[in-house]
Symmetry: C5
Subunit: 355 residues, 5 copies
């Protein structure tokens, strides 16, 4: 993914700054715009067909959430951006999907970039970029494609239970980000399970041929999740410290709560990181232990039979005069000697705990 | 446990923030409420049957400690919280048992989350969450289930010896937290003993099959204890720096004392961490040393007997004319040669310090 | 390169500070000077033949970019420096090509040193030093030799599209630095690909003889790129915080954008660093695994045939009386015994999963 | 020691804070109190028999040093503490010998805990806790038992040479602490020598059976010394920055000097730490090298004699017709062939640099 | 050296602070004093025979550099120190040659301790302590013995070219320190070359017996150079920030330049440190690779000849009836079988890439 991310950036090489160019690869996605306009009494939910319909929501007294899916529709996004007076670099960042989580504090609005993590169908972790613009009375959200973690949020706004509809736009941004952060827990749970699976495999000795690569891939996945989550702490921190009417004092307690969750997730990730480093060590120890076992078998076999073979060789010699050969029970005596040597060896290896 | 902790969180996925949901798994525990109301002259100790009985203690001149066991009784806790004007997020945190140690400074009260560490019956370390609310003249404490480390505190309040009853609620919170921190020493003592046991096992070579896994588990247990203890330093630090009538200046010296203890515990944990990293290294060296020994035995046996077998092979050949075979004492001379070779080899290996 | 860099420094050993001495090794390069003088309406592009022609641009109302290639022409550079009132140490730094990226804030101008990274013809990464002087209405840039990453910038100035010609000199410096930073992405992409190539080689077992050295070289290349890029973050940060009419407030948002890019690049580099450390570990595991396989073959062969050879040896002995030798089907019985032993061994190794 | 230290703490489990309980194990030591009372003209040195005799020194114009040995005499120490108005927690810390070096700044006095390191008779390093109370005109010092590093200080006070008697109590505290810090150099010198001894042993191959454990023990000893010394830097730093008449400005230069010494010691300890980590690596390499050597001997012996034995085996076969057996000089020719093979092998191994 | 440094310190054990005691071992060096007194017009250079001659330079309008070689002449140094009002601890530090680079800011003068690094005749790196005292109009410098890196400085002062003679004493201190820092580049160049030599040796397999120790020694040398250079950054930083007429504003730019050089050197040292850690890893891999090769030879030889020997053994048996022995071409058929087995084995090992 590191590679991909960088390649995406290259699309813009040589372009002037502020060029609004979609850097993702889902360029055939259709545009989907939905709007929620609500106050404590009512809630209008609507799917918009043109971006221009969204313009009216600006300046209304109610709280408005406009959610745009389809970052490839750069023209519509530019139109919206111009209407809402967004800085060209903000528009560039919205459609440039390789952003780090960050916050830009502008005069009239806050611009926040977050990574939404979820599992794709093939169990791999997808990090989709979601950008939020929090202005006076509205939140704009931009996603690459449909499908998100906001369904519970939508339901809560529709039903108007709890605080959801009685608070301002800053609280709306909070519940959206809270939904994203809550999903991080699901993601790292899977990572933790994978680590335990590998651990069990290594301890039980049933490691596949690709264990080395698997561990490496997992390590990289953890690094990737880490990179998506860690900068968000600073973002939340800056929201909490932000001084403008956009963020009300009473909402800050809630952002503090997200922050605490992020710290929890971060700690888990760092523990996983440490655990995965240990995995390689354990694997190495396992290999060494196995080699030890192999060597012991070889040594036991060789140490027992090489001397015996030597003795047999002695009495296979053709010297004219080897007295033992003519002893009456020479052959049987020799067998006794050999068996004694064999048992002695066994005893020796037993004492050394090799058997 | 990492996994468990995260799974608990998932219970709340999609729920609105401030939802007071118990995330533990002791949902059949009965509610137990005890109250201590004391000043320097008297001390009333009482077990309450309903949460409403606790309401009267608010606003009294004496110091009150209300201790609630049974976080699954969320409704009672909510009632109490509402009576004491606690923020919904505080109530959520009280019953959500996967909190990190933290402090939230509210206008009328301090909310502190601590991990109480003790040994379960099977010697494993249990980290039970204890939440404290320190208000004007009262301390509320919330525990998941009965059984805690506060018996000595109760006794001290009853007997009224020393400072216990002549100080304010901030001192009560101090002695409760001090009791928890004092128990940390017991916990890390056990960890230290385990490390030494493994060390002895590795040095003496009597390692079980699961040593690899055991070390790994211990490493994880240390990480877990670390995570329970380390954030508490910041909590105590913030209490010490807290500027409100809730924390009196003369009590701060005592919190400083807890802080010093925490630093001591933290240092020990970090030393244990370093020691356990070394354990794997030592184990690896031990394995390599053993393999060395195995290889030496093999090499000695093979180096001695393979050449001798070769010589025996020579005189087992059926050439028409091998003069040595017809020497008078050929057989005896050969034995002498072989014994000489044998001794030469022994001397060689002795000199190489392999024997 | 570490060595080279230091040797270059030695050229100046014993020289007084402020000595303007070219420390590179491209001393036969010819001087190339180009000038762009533009405002929002017009743009004059000109190749200058003498350094004196550049003097006139100072003090004009338009924005001027003077780009000098050929750091070996120290006299011309000194002349220019004196005309623009540059500090002697600045001139020394311009031609001393082993500088770290840095910014010196002087009263009338900013002096910025940056490393321009690009691929040489042999795929190696070249770090060419580019120095910028940003003064009122002009930017001077100094490069060691012709060939740079500024072609897109030149084109944008010529065509006057977008913001390029309507902004001040601080914006010109921004687009020049932005072009350099954008190229960093190309560089680290190649590094990432190399790491993946080595990883694949190690996993597939097709490692060349020099894999050890290759990994080492790559590690060093990453360190080198890191050293060129990391200090630039601080430089950009200081530009953003710079308080003087040289940097306008509205341009700072753009520098912030470069900063974000640098953080992205830096994160990637650190991930690559971690990955390359893992490579050695993986390689080591691979070697151990191979040795394990070798040992198994040896052990299987020896364990099977050494006992069999011993038995054959027994019946090659010349005792007067060995009853088995005279059994009717002795030879065939023996073969049966031997085949049974052989199969038994095979079964044993199969069960141990060595086969 | 980690374990011991913690066990000591447990003695106090459940006791109220401020309980003055001796946590060491030298409970039969007799109390020894000495007092120095001096100014620039005179010096009274006296051994006190009861703690009450010390009370008179408080408030005198001269500088007084009261040195108490025997922390098990808690009652006397409490009496003294009450007379000098020491906080109960200070008294608790004085007799609780597992303190970390620290400073507590009280209104009328400074309380400093330091670890005095010296070699016991069995060469092990002892870390004895010394507590100082610096008040107006007096220094109290508390040691667990007799025997310390202050003899040179006593002598200097008696003789009144140099600054010793013309300065205030803050200077007295300085020379006492300086004496302790000077001894740290002796301690770490021994550690350095031990590391070099182990290094030499590993390089020369004369490692004992317990080298693994020895290195581990040394590592732990270094950690322990580190823990005794590192926090002291912060203590000295706080004394230097302390703003009260207790520490005069002119004395601060001297504390700065101690600080510089501590930094030197700390650097050495960290270098030793790094060196001891390398020791394990080196030891591992040595083991691997040895195994290499063992394997070479085995391989050479086996590679030479196994083929020769095969040839001898060939001509030991009983085929009816093996023409070579009847050659005239068959036996001698075979010997030549075998010797040629032997030499060929030797040459091969020589070329491979195995011999 | 670590050990030596500490032993030197011990010379002072028990001595009162401020004792001016030479801790080096060049106690027979003769005293050498030279003085440069100059302003922009003239320059007096003089070798002084007694320390008293130096007294006159204090208070002159010109800039004076007094350079004293021979720290064993403590009495002369004390005389000088008293005349220039140096603090006793400063004098102690001047002759105590185990100081860390540091700066002490006194009221009338700055005291700076620097390590001058150069190569001794036997290629080892010598770290000689040089102390500077910068006062109003003068610089005192103290060296252990004759021979330094200041010859270029002396020449520049004599010739009066450039800024050298037109600036104040702070600039004189700058060019002296600059000369020292410039020499650091030479030192680390040698270290870099050594690392590359070892790398080449390890890669080519031509490692000496002492490679382990050599790498270890180099690692320690790097640590030592690091310790001499790193604290100097802070020293320079403090000079730059120093607020007194001793350091003029226009000179600070020059100190900034030294700082930049130090950062460059520091970065190189840290890269070398990382490289030398890798060296051990690489060496370990090389050993493992070699053992792999040894094992392969053994395995190939044993796997080929042990089965063949077994077959030869079969037909060496003395059974009454072994039909193959009486086949007409039995012997030749057997040879064919054996050669076939031999070739089969070769093919097998070829396919496994062992040959």
């Amino acid at each position: 993914m590191g590679k991909n991310r960088i390649k995406k950036h290259n699309k813009k090489l040589g372009k002037p700054p502020g060029s609004v160019i979609y850097t993702g690869n889902k360029s055939s996605k259709k545009l989907f715009i939905e709007a929620f306009d609500y106050n404590v009494e009512r809630c209008n939910e609507k799917e918009l067909t043109t971006i221009e319909e969204a313009f009216n929501f600006k300046g209304s007294d109610s709280v408005t959430w406009i959610n745009i899916n389809g970052l490839n529709h750069v023209e519509e996004i530019e139109k919206l951006g111009n209407h809402f007076n967004l800085h060209p670099l903000v528009l560039e960042d919205i459609v440039s999907i390789s952003q780090r989580p960050k916050i830009d504090e502008h005069e009239d609005y806050l611009f926040v970039v977050v990574k939404m993590l979820y599992h794709a169908n093939d169990e791999s972790i997808v990090a989709e970029q979601v950008s939020f613009v929090l202005g006076k009375g509205y939140v704009l959200s931009f996603q690459e494609s449909e499908g998100d973690v906001f369904d519970a949020v939508r339901e809560r706004i529709r039903q108007g239970k709890g605080r959801a509809r009685s608070m301002q736009a800053d609280y709306l941004l909070y519940i959206l980000m809270d939904a994203i952060v809550d999903h991080y827990f699901t993601i790292i749970e899977t990572l933790g399970e994978k680590i335990e699976d590998y651990e069990d495999a290594i301890f039980s000795g049933h490691v596949g041929k690709t264990i080395n690569k698997d561990i490496q891939d997992l390590k990289r996945e953890i690094l990737r999740v880490r990179r998506a989550i860690f900068p968000l702490r600073e973002v939340i921190n800056r929201i909490e410290k932000h001084e403008s009417p956009l963020i009300l004092k009473k909402t800050k307690t809630f952002y503090r709560d997200i922050y605490d969750h992020l710290i929890q997730v971060s700690e888990n990730i760092d523990i996983y990181r440490e655990m995965i480093w240990s995995l390689m060590d354990m694997y190495m120890t396992t290999i060494s232990n196995k080699m030890n076992e192999v060597m012991k078998v070889l040594t036991i076999m060789a140490s027992i039979f090489i001397p015996l073979t030597f003795i047999a060789g002695i009495y296979g010699m053709n010297f004219d005069y080897i007295p033992e050969l003519h002893y009456k029970n020479g052959y049987y005596i020799l067998w006794c000697v050999m068996i004694a040597m064999f048992l002695g060896m066994l005893y020796y290896f037993k004492r050394k705990k090799w058997l």
